[in-house]
Amino acid sequence: MGSIPTQWITPLLLWGLFRAVSGSSVEQKIYVNLNDTAPCVRLLNGTHQIGCQSSLAGDVGVIHFLESEEDLPWVLTSGPSPPYMVVLEAPLFTRSVMMKLNNGSSRIAGVAVVIPSSSPAQGFSPHTTCPNENTGLYSESYDPSMAHCNTTVWNPLGNGLSYEQFNFPMFSLKDDNGTEVIRQCYLEHNRVVNGSAPGYPLCAMQLSSHMHAVTDTVTCMRRSEGSAFSLSQDKVCDALSNYNVWSSTKSLNNTAKGHKDNETIVIAAARLDSRAFFHGVSLGAEGSASGFITLLAAAAALANITRENPPPRTETFDYIGSSRMVYDMETDNFAIDLDNVHSLVEIGQVGLHNVSGLWLHSDPVSRRNDAVDKEVKSLMDTFQSVATNLNLSLGLPDVSQPLPPASFQRFLRAQPIPGLVLTDHRSHFTNRFFESMYDNAEYLNLTYPADLSPEERFTHVTDTARGLTEVATLVARALYKQAGGAEEWLASIQADSQTVAQLLYGFLVQTRNPWFEAIIPPEDQYLLMPSPPEYYVGVHGSTNNTASSLVYYVLANLTGTALNISRDNCTKREFTDDTESTHMNSYMWVQGVTPPNATEPVSYCVRSTARISRAESPAFLLKDYRSSNFSTWTESRWIRIGARIFLVAGPDLEMLTLGVGVAVLLASLLLTYVINSKADFLFSSGREPANATY
């Protein structure tokens, strides 16, 4: 409908009645909003800020599709209508291109990256080459030859883009219909034909991602403090925090903190979180999901058998989770303390072990101590013997090689504990997409035959699932033996491949599936969505604890027991004095399944030793925001994030409009004044006599 009848109802009423949408029709003629975008946000630590920033109302730039690196001078120096909004295809999203754009940022309004559906063949990792190098074990004081990855570079494909600061906004666009609109608009209006610049109107994009925090954590915490409520508008940044999930095979009194006599614990740990360059697209299939899914399966296999303590936790940003757990153990704020720990086994990235085999890493420096060395060797022998029985290839890298980035490093910083890290890489990571958006289910070869429905996919056991099941069985049996279990029971410990397949589906494909529905409480059903959970750490109060909550419920279900008691008895257990109280166990009321011929699910109570504890860096407890020992990462707050495209008119047309308007106004003022002063004369003929009324 192109006609605008000016004498009639306002366009708003018209279109509002036709389409019942909010937002005026004129706005719809001008702007096309882009959905399905992910922004790059600002993060701060004790000394720096990283990420991207836009101006308050958003940055507007003329769209330019960058064809190659040689095309950069058009955008940076020779193009006639700056500022430009550069649209990159994924192969051009490299460090050299981004650094050049960052340097020429007065002419760059922003960058949009088009994400293809398939991953780049050569690998891509925006993380640094040496992850967590400043807060791990290997520092100048511990061993200078191993600090800063001098011996082994763990992530050689890392380009460090996630840790750079950009002065313009950056968004990622999915390669779908929305991006097609942008391409069409660009081809119609912005194409350079025969070297001559395109004329106005030009296609432009506006990206809004204004971040409130600046400089570093010290500054933003200083500006945020003094606000009474945690969600008030005065705060400009929030500490990155999430939850640690842990449980034990034997009930531990969680209320009595500190050292427990006669308790020695073997800890098994895995990482839970992940990150990507753009906010909200991190999956970490190989980087973290493979590890914690294996651990959950091993915990299920070991349930009711031995004493063991498997905690998945958050580790991307300088070991937030493990540093907090170690700190809690040191300050007697945890159910056990470090003296109770006998040894530790950590499961790192294990998803690609069928390609590169399984390897056990140990810390050479702590092994210089004979007692520790003996324990480590015996742990290694245990693993080797179990692996041989299972026909798995398990290798030992060079003794002088340090530990890869792992939570175990934070434990060793506090106390020399014997332990091992199980991974699928011998020296540098096998994972070519460490901490990037391409580390997804497809990278783990988690593919289902095309003709399966979602329910069938959920129960389909893929090769990936089978592979991880073997690793889980290995871990379970080795831990059992390590914890002093008898040999004859070893063969009966077997991880279930069906469980692993369901875990892989639930955590990497979509959370809405029958098993998850049954094991989480009725009030938390909103956690289930037709997409995988978000593994980014997030801040307290945001919805980013989906993954840790789900892990908690799964752990409770796999290691706990169902009780036949009423809901009231289940949820109000804290006042009971007996050994079944909430001091020793956790109780939760879960939804359960709907039996056939019934409409309501049958809910029940689950008792387990699974617990969830806050994982916020100790730096925020101690209010030491410049700490070099603990993570000081915070995330900036923002109000509005959005992207839209439209046409911009040339500045000469705008000035012309203004000029015409001013001219019309002045001319009409002049004319009116003149006519008014001569009005008596002008309108005098045919006038009625002065004393007539009408």
Partner: protein
Amino acid sequence: MTASVFFGCTFIAFGPAIALFLFTIARDPLRVIFLIAGAFFWLVSLLLSSLVWFISVQISNKESPEQQKGLLIFGVVLSVLLQELFRFGYYKLLKKANEGLLALSQEETMPISVRQLAYVSGLGFGFMSGAFSVVNILADSVGPGTVGIHGDSQHFFLSSAFMTMAIILLHMFWGVVFFDACEKRRWWCLVVVVASHLLVSCLTFQNPYYVGSLVPTYVIMFLMGAWAFCCAGGSLRNLKLCLTCKDKDFLLANHRPR
């Protein structure tokens, strides 16, 4: 399209109206009151016609574009007729009010003549009509984008502003002619006024072919302006004398009472 387009279009659309208000109406409170009352009458006519249109759209078939287009044309015609009806109603109300005012006041002459009332009420209609036409468009012109990404014409803002200016002035001229015709009982003049109003409204169906709607509208505006000038007491001789600056000499020579 940024602030310069916003101000440019505002000045184009409301420039003449603001100038007229400042110089001729703002000083006299009675005129201001009648202006606002006139604007209110136009608003009520809009309300009634929009009610009818709303109901008819709800009961119609929303999927068929021909029916919607037909409904739109029906709505336009109905609105024009209602506006002119309300103009007539305002005229009648003003006549009655004048009788009452005269009875109350001590003076012998009317505080405001019918011609002035015609002009003021026409301008009131124009102000409100212009505001409803263009304010939404102006609000969207402040943003960074301009119309066109879906293929519409780029000159949307400019032509809307010019159209609004023409409509405001047209309402003023129609008011003058209408009241004069009612005074002198020349009913064919009324018909011409209503017909020209209908013509201008239906011309907008030519949009986005803006030349086709703007040029005829401006032609009609100048014609109506000339007619209103004559109705208001002007003549070609007076105009010529004014333009050649001989008006003062003429007055002095003829001792015409002012």
